[in-house]
Amino acid sequence: MYAQMIKTASTGVKSREEMTEEERRFQDRIDAGEKIEPKDWMPDDYRATLIRQIGQHAHSEIVGQLPEGNWITRAPTLERKAILLAKVQDEAGHGLYLYCAAETLGVSRDELTEDLLSGKMKYSSIFNYPTLTWADIGAVGWLVDGAAIMNQVPLQRTSFGPYSRAMIRICKEESFHQRQGYDIMMKMAQGTPEQKRMAQDALNRFWYPSLMMFGPSDKDSIHSAQSMAWKIKINTNDELRQKFVDQTVPQAEYLGLSVPDENLKWNEETGHYDFTQPDWTEFFDVIKGNGPCNTDRMAARNKAWDEGKWVRDGLLAHARKRAARVAAE
């Protein structure tokens, strides 16, 4: 997902006996469906885990602009270009909502940015894959945003108020993203044989990386168990991945495209599709920094930050000077 492999700061879910009085009261509030707000008491581990999770989610939105930004100047029509611009601008907005939610936990924006730029904090593995053709922009909207929605819809009910409110806002806007992607895929799939080939090729390349977005199976993970007890994670990775496959396969069929998985089969008994797991060795390799675009993405973010420094400093100096002048009058 946009936040993958988030390790909680804790060593597993505590039993009620092991909890302090404050921790028990905190867990009771969560179990009762109450929202935790920034000034409320919360366990240090809850705070630290949320900073990691929301921070990584925010970084993913920001870095996620890069693969799509790649096609703004090359969109096939003026309308497509305007739509793509609006979508990429939304991603920037989503990043900002999430950074603000993280900041209510006591971390500063600059700290978060610096941790991204130094590689200390991660962003979703998916954005380390290149967008080689226009059909990839369709596949990203359809599959990548589709996978993101799977995770973000349940997170609207997350226990931390500011995170939940950011998710509600994001989900409202996200559906436009997926539909514009599918719209591009429909056009390509119904186009010339060459365009249809491009659409199929985009699906071939983005299918497994999209499945990886949910992260490796976490049914036995102590970190996930704790996050679920805290309601900052609502479903297991496998549940969401299965839901995504079940929803996406008929959409691929409608396009007349085939999912690149020989073992993909409807299972009458389970009521779900059976499918092949992605290559988890590749996933861990990409997370480690060895994906096709990791270096490019980090270089682009660092360049934007470094070359924007004089603008940030200049505007602040101007604001301070003007405030001083007003104060002196």
Binding site: E37, K39, D40, G93, E103, A166, R312
Partner: protein, 94 residues
């Protein structure tokens, strides 16, 4: 001196006459830029016709630990709600 832009809380009034409502926050060097940024971040889909920005540092807030003394007294005053009073149906709309 720290060179991070200060945090501003953003309030938007929608088109239908309701009050300004808190929608989120953002960083900006001054009020003018905060309003410009708020327009880009929080009104991309006709969400509003008026923007207020306030420096987050200038907001005073009640403390969660005061929840009891502040809000509990009103719980016992059910007569403040119109449904407390039974008015016979024969009286008509009231």
């Amino acid at each position: 001196m720290k060179n991070e832009w200060p945090l501003w809380e953003v309030f938007i009034r929608g088109q239908h006459g309701l009050s300004h409502r808190h929608v989120g926050s953002l960083h900006a060097p001054d009020a003018e830029m905060a309003i410009k940024n708020a327009r880009d971040v929080y009104t991309r889909r006709n969400e509003g016709v008026s923007i207020w920005v306030v420096k987050a540092a200038d907001i005073a807030a009640s403390s969660p630990s005061d929840k009891g003394p502040l809000y509990e007294p009103s719980q016992s005053k059910v007569y403040r709600h119109p449904t407390f009073f039974d008015i016979p149906e024969d009286v008509g709309a009231m």
